[in-house]
Subunit: 368 residues, 4 copies
């Protein structure tokens, strides 16, 4: 048991604080002889990297990852892979303001109550900076999943303004600064966020992750369910307040008939579902259909508007955040969400293979 | 690692199939010298028990729990507590219909693809019958939490029809057959469900669990977050498709100002929050405020209307369910949700105590 | 984490006290579609069963195991297998004598200091009765290992009197009451133990377990080493005070040359070792050679001779044990040791397969 | 589950290869507000450091540890502590000789069979270099145990030549190059090892670790036993082939009377044992007496004498080791053994406190 480890057979342990000398992680359980270099990981980090657009924090971090172990002559060896990123832009600003104050929506108060001490610089361990290591681990997980699995994320809602699903275009996702699959929505969001930034305010968001091509059989009854572990994984991302699989909360409003994913047979023996309300998971186990998960990110708590708060000495104070911060942390959560889903799938792939080495890799039935 | 265990220091392992001789669980990690007898567990099982109203499955199970170990002369001994419930009403019906057919919305297909075998009788391991052991374990968890913690659940939405929060009355919850805190909603739901049952249809639901009085400091960065583990726990319940903490998905539509939970000091040194959008958790750690979690349950997949499906032999078939089933499985999920939250809190209480034995039991600050 | 669970992917959780209504275990992670009935488990329990010879405790327990879950129509389903044995001969004797007294060599004092309560009847949880469930789980582990693996144990030393290794005959092991591979030693031990029993004394023993045919590659650097887990597993058996792999403590007296296991090639490409000082494990990973582990069991602490002790009230007392007890608990430890080795191997087989599905099943090298 | 993690609540994950850029570890679960700097860890690393005497490997590594996270202003914060040591003396020697050859007694063959790849430089992951991180983690564990616990190790046997226990003097341990408590033995060993080194040979050793002042109650039935976890921990150290607790294998030769640790009461209410055959552990739980563990280390496998071996291509070869190596790896295993015992005790301290916060810190009984 470890509070800073994630996964079971594909196991990630992260460490590091926002303003410490470095952040890092150890990824254990990776099969041997996978081709892996920093160049396989860096692009994913670059996608998450701060300072790239006006809609995310302006902290400048090159986030150059280094592999310190577990890879030999370009191949994984089966031993733990240590990754490290040195913190560069640890702006030596005056933290006097938040040193003793507990900002609303932040982990300041709870860390203090739990530990009686906290590294307040940039949020310390509670900083979203930790998610860089999730993204790095996710890149390794993707290597394990192979090219059969297409794992993508998109922002589907900012501040209550949702994308038009009829206009969904995955190619668009890489074309705007919001990972938005709907160009019209992206345009609206741009205006919205500029306004929010100007007002020193912030907005929440909803992210959707879709994994296509994952084999059936991932997950297990009853506490190793794939959806249960996806929910835990996504909820562990900073600022996430809700997680859905497939139809999610909308399922509550459906009838049994409306929610049923009917099935037919393909000529080649594969099962075809006529819908995917289940989000690719039945009884906690993947069906072979696209796995669909969504999560809600609250608006950034660091805002310009003064808020009533308390300090370490039990005094009532007002706080407002001046520094560089994301007006919508949900944007940078897209690659993080992808990474978490990749890690969960990689872990379950190993677990499934251990117990069921002969299980089919597709939802295919014998025809006799 | 175990697919059928839950929790870390308070650790529950369940076993059993719907139509096997018995179901049971082992609860490990319970502190010694807690008063515990079957009478402390049975009332919670009785709340979940099938066959009690016309809105839930008519299977008749007395669900009498027996303690087989870990309790001596009415006190826990610190050794594992084994609980068992014998299955009684294993109706010897003809399972020919579902033996080889994969019902939409059920785990039939995924179990078959994963394991190449399944106990099809009543859903086997995927049956909601397993949740009886969660409820039993939850009763032990409640003992550990003590009387300071008030942990209650309510149904807040059936088929898209939500309760009026202004009319919320916890006392009502025990007065109707839906655990509904709003009598007007309960009346509407009764009509709705009678209609659904008559039509052989089913409805989804949303459940809300509230834990008041839990100490601050439960949970931990960054993968042992309280909200992450609550999400995993609740998503592991059969038919659950979404989980929220506090404001949940609604947070996506809020501004940073609107979502901030401002703080003031009580004269006695306690921190008072002016709102609870966070659902009692910041940075993955409890604040001392009420912990609020919600989860969505899909409509029962077993319905009268024929649905297109496939069978074990790769043939296209139609299935319809004739047996006894819940028109709204969400109703019986209320005590199960309570139990899962109780188990997560008990587990985190032990984990918190191990690392932080001197942490305060209330959100209280020194005033100096 | 659980104090009463063992293994990772093949995971055993045991429960029960010596004089409670039953003892049992849950075995999770077993692959599906293995043929398994009670008849596959019972013979191993019968080997461990008390009351079978004059050299072991006379408690009469039929130890009839029942499978309560995880098996359907004679095949495992991949879900947890619950086993239970009802306690029969809970002799309603007067426990007044040991109720408040802390017997030397027993867990009485430590349970009291740790938990402040203990089920003193027959030792409660610390009773060797718990090992019946290890044996039952071991029978399932053997099923997983298959017929390629020959896993056997023998008693090699009682009270300092060792077998003659030149006279080792596995067939002898089943012919005497001591699992002794050397008939001459068995005859000497018989006399020795009769004398010890008459004197109300007891003797220690050393057990050796040999697993032939296990594949190479089991185990992993650096804390999942096969030898490390065997050591933990064997040391967890009641009364065990030492564990060795291969040459064991004798290795300390050897030179590097003397301890080296040289290698040659077989014509078929298999590696042949010229000796097995390593006990089949190098760098924590199995070599494909026989895996050899030994463990030392202390003399039964329950003896007739009065010993100075203390009681619950801090009073100095004398205790002597009158009841039925093994003059040499090491004898019944043989099937238990076999079972623990089987469980460790089964667990590592799954773990190895998860990460290294393409690893060879024999120590065979490409010849090019 | 992780093959490279150790412990449960005090959890250590190590990474790194002998000739990679660095080695490191993450220590999770450390309580907050413990004073900790590199200066608290470095002295223990210096004790283990190579190149310090003519009896250990001449590799020159300053082994300067850096703390990268989890410590703020000199105090632990409760978040994971990352430690790193850069590898300096990665002698760019020609590894051609061992690149494809499987040296007897080394992990070369088993890594190859398991992973199909290995970092052969200096043994890669199987190098004793990894134990530096154990020592570093052990230093943190010692901080947690506090000054009440005196944890020391000594070499008690080299090449079959044991210390005279009557001459045991802990002060001597720091005065010679062997951690030997008996100056006469140290003198004999010096001659012995000079001879072995000259001959290109090597010798095995036995190490004893004693922890005084540890509270009673550490450990738990039945798989979380303190002795079981000590056995696993010590057996996981490179080259260890046997582990004993207290009387160890000698217990097999004792009678029940001879092995009994009788008890008397001290005037202050503490239990006094008249002997310590048990090594401070009964029923898997510490008694409050000194905890005594011993382990045997095989002679260094790297020797000058040519040995028959095989290579990657299935060819028979002869190998002899020319590089810098320890003639007795047991010497440097002393601080490693201490560290492992410290880690196990720290872990169990947390586990014990979680479940039994009110347990007494001394073996003291109420006198009424």
């Amino acid at each position: 048991m470890s509070h800073n480890s994630f996964g079971h057979l594909f196991r990630v342990t992260t460490w590091g604080e926002s303003h410490g000398p470095a952040i890092g992680c150890v990824v254990d359980g990776v099969p041997p002889r996978l081709a892996l270099t920093e160049a396989d990981i860096q692009p994913f980090l670059d996608r998450r990297r701060p300072g790239q657009s006006k809609f995310v924090t302006q902290r400048q971090e090159p986030d150059q990852v280094r592999i310190l172990s577990g890879v030999f002559e370009g191949l994984t060896t089966g031993t733990p892979i240590a990754l490290v990123i040195e913190n560069q832009d640890q702006r030596s600003k005056d933290y006097g303001e938040i040193k003793d104050r507990f900002r609303p929506g932040h982990a300041d108060l709870t860390y203090e109550l739990k530990y009686g001490i906290r590294d307040y610089r940039g949020g310390g361990r509670s900083s979203a900076r930790e998610t860089a290591m999730r993204v790095a681990a996710g890149a390794i997980a993707r290597r394990m999943l192979g090219t059969e699995v297409t794992l993508r994320g998109a922002l589907v809602n900012i501040g209550g303004d949702a994308v038009d699903r009829a206009a969904w275009d995955w190619a668009e996702v890489e074309r705007n600064e919001f990972w938005c699959p709907d160009p019209a929505a992206a345009a609206r969001w741009e205006a919205k966020l500029l306004e929010a930034r100007k007002a020193g305010s912030s907005l929440g968001a909803v992210i959707e992750i879709v994994a296509e091509g994952a084999p059936p059989g991932l997950g297990a009854p009853v506490y190793g369910k794939l959806d249960a572990e996806l929910a835990g994984a996504l909820m562990s991302i900073n600022a996430v307040k809700g997680v859905e699989i497939g139809e999610g909360f909308s399922a509550a409003a459906l009838s049994g008939e409306g929610n049923a994913d009917e099935m037919r047979m393909e000529p080649d023996g594969r099962v075809r579902f006529l819908s995917n309300h289940a989000g690719g998971i039945l009884g906690g186990i993947s069906t072979g259909q696209p796995i669909v998960a969504r999560f809600a990110v609250k608006p950034t708590s660091s805002i310009l508007a003064p808020r009533r708060a308390v300090d370490k000495h039990g005094q009532e104070v007002e706080v407002m955040t001046k520094g560089r911060h994301d007006p919508c942390v949900g944007i940078r959560a897209v690659p993080v969400g992808e990474a978490m889903v990749a890690c969960v799938l990689a872990d379950h792939l190993l677990r499934h293979r251990a117990q069921n080495p002969d299980a089919p890799s597709q939802a295919r039935l014998p025809r006799n």
